[in-house]
């Protein structure tokens, strides 16, 4: 009995309950004769789309500023990268590369400034970051309306100013990663490029966190007093964590958009942090500890659950149930993490 309890404690409540639900839904899907191949295709695709966004949570948790509730900042700069690339009429890999090349330095700069601010509000990063993110999103709504973009595919047909709410990326670099080396096996499409790109990002984060700087960053995250007594400049490493996180968020939205095929502006980036936060917590992370394994497990479980539950629920209940499940699970898991005793 004690052994079972020990295993359960190791898995943790979020991982346990979500895995259970996922297998339940896969079981029902199998029973209902739904195409499992198309489901796994969707799961892989959605994993690739969302995993980098979840990965962006790792550096901030490791460096001690908790879950990054302000992914929207990086996301917006990623969108700007995409927009500039699309405005120039670039397509394919060039378009993708230019979008990244513009977004990353902007995100690094914004992350640095945001990090300076967060260092002054230690202990309240989540609340402040959340509302800071919301303000940035709404301020940028004005920017999208006034921004000097001229490409007729981007701006509203009437009046010729103001960016559209959703922009199609078919003519620019939509699906460039998804289609790269993609192949089909037993009816499941493997988006090789998409998965490889995530693997690359994850590898960079992993290698970095094992360098001397990365190690110092993790030490300063594990305990401020200990880090100071070891002679580390905690504030500097916290900023570093936020810079990496913001850059990853910018990269993530470019990857997400090219796979989705649309660029979503205006209020769309508002709640971007919530599902990412839920994913990494489901993966077994908490507000003080996060790793790449947590990212992979959490994203697979969360996206898997969302993908499988939708067609199943469409058959056995109302369509809106899937959306309700998403809201209840993602917020429920965040609440669980917030009310844990060890969460500081």
């Amino acid at each position: 009995m004690d052994k079972i309890k020990a295993i359960y404690n190791k898995i943790g409540f979020p991982r346990f309950i979500i895995t259970l639900l996922l297998f339940l839904f896969i079981g029902i899907a199998f029973f209902l004769d739904l195409s499992l191949a198309s489901m796994f295709t969707d799961i892989l695709k959605r994993f690739g789309m969302n995993a980098i966004l979840v990965l962006a949570m790792v550096p901030t948790v490791q460096s001690g500023s908790g879950i990054n509730m302000n992914l929207a900042l990086g996301v917006i700069l990623g969108l700007i990268g995409c927009l500039v690339s699309m405005e120039l009429g670039l397509a394919g890999w060039t378009g993708f590369g230019v979008a990244l090349a513009i977004a990353i330095p902007l995100a690094a700069l914004a992350g640095y400034l945001y990090g300076l601010m967060l260092n002054r509000v230690k202990g309240q990063e989540m609340t402040v970051g959340n509302y800071f993110g919301y303000s940035v999103v709404s301020l940028m709504c004005i920017f999208w309306l006034l921004a000097p973009f001229k490409n007729p595919q981007l701006v509203w047909a009437m009046g010729g100013t103001g960016l559209r709410t959703t922009l199609t990326m078919d003519d620019s670099f939509g699906k460039v990663l998804d289609n790269f080396l993609s192949f089909e096996i037993m009816g499941v499409t493997i988006p090789t490029g998409l998965l490889l790109f995530f693997a690359l990002c994850a590898l960079i984060v992993y290698v970095f966190s094992n360098t001397k700087t990365g190690l110092a960053m993790r030490v300063s995250g594990s305990g401020e007093k200990f880090a100071i007594s070891s002679g580390l400049n905690v504030d500097r490493y916290r900023i570093l964590g936020i810079v990496i996180s913001t850059v990853l968020a910018a990269t993530a939205i470019i990857v997400y958009s090219q796979s989705f095929g649309f660029l979503q502006l205006y209020m769309a980036p508002l709640y971007v942090s919530m599902p990412a936060a839920a994913s990494i917590l489901i993966g077994g992370a908490n507000l003080r500890k996060a790793s790449i394994a947590h990212v992979i497990i959490g994203t697979l479980l969360f996206q898997g659950l969302l993908t499988v539950s939708l067609p199943v629920i469409n058959i056995i209940s109302e369509g809106s149930m899937a959306e309700i499940i998403r809201i209840v699970i993602s917020n429920g898991i965040i609440l669980y993490a917030l009310t844990r005793k060890e969460a500081v």
Binding site: T127, S135, C141, I324, N331, I334
Partner: protein, 348 residues
Amino acid sequence: MIVPIVFIIICAVGYYFSGLAFDFVMVEMFFRLSRNLLLVASLIIPVITGMGLNFGIVIGAMAGQIGLFIIANFGIGGMTGITVAMLASVPFAVVFGYLVGQVLNRAKGKEMITSMILGFFANGIYQLIFIVMAGKIIPFSNKDLLMDSGVGLKNTIDLVSIRKSFDTWLFGDIVNFPVMPIVFVAIILLLINRFFKTKVGQEMRAVGQDMHIAEVQGIDVDKTRLKAIVISTVLAAWGQIVYLQNLGTLNTFTNHEQVGLFAVAALLIGGASVEKATWKEALIGTFLFHLLFIVSPPAGQKLMGDAQIGEYFRVFVAYGVIGISLMLHAMEKRKKTEDRLRLTIKEK
């Protein structure tokens, strides 16, 4: 005091460019105050108790809407309808408030983000109940409220039977103003003010100043915090009912969503902080925030050629003001703990 002054200037500039007539703005203002002030006032007690800005009033608003579903189902109209709705919402609000309080007691120091996520979470449960279960598990005798399939509430529910009933109550034939809602909210504000002089109110103040000291003084901290959230939730439920009787229609799945954001922004614009709020800040803040609501679309139209810009500006202000106040609060708190740390080191 700097925040309200800045907003007076913004509103004055906005008013100047909007080109709106003064009486129009004032009449509009009166209605907006009458229907929004109670929701803002519901935030005061948790602030004094040291729980920060209770974004969980969204859940109170849901309780208010449940009260309205009940009277819409039984077709109770007029002032009776409103009274019944208010009374019926109380048990729901008390239970919800108790649950919110329990969760917040387990998340001390992170109440605001927790109450906000709780609002999102409760919204999911609310949808589960009123989209999936209504009509199926929860019986509704009035089929007009349900979707054609017989399951799930309609997206908008007509409240024509109670529309402006409270606004026109007693004085409706004499003046065209919502006299009674204003009187009602004035009484509530007065009661809140009095409440802090009672024993429970004093305990709340003590808990708000320092939980540990309060504990040592023999105050049951968790219980006091629970009471504060329950009162706040009940007031929010009533506030939502007053608000919706003025509008006359209920958007089943959206009306409650922005309640927390707008009420919190209004209170902060009035000069309140995460730790200090009185009826004065509620009144000034509601006035200024809604003045901005009235003038910013036409001002955006005149200045930038697009009313949408004014709309976005308003949303930006709501989020921005909350963000900045939370930031200032966190900085102050950090400084305080650092000072205390320095002091203890010195004593040693």
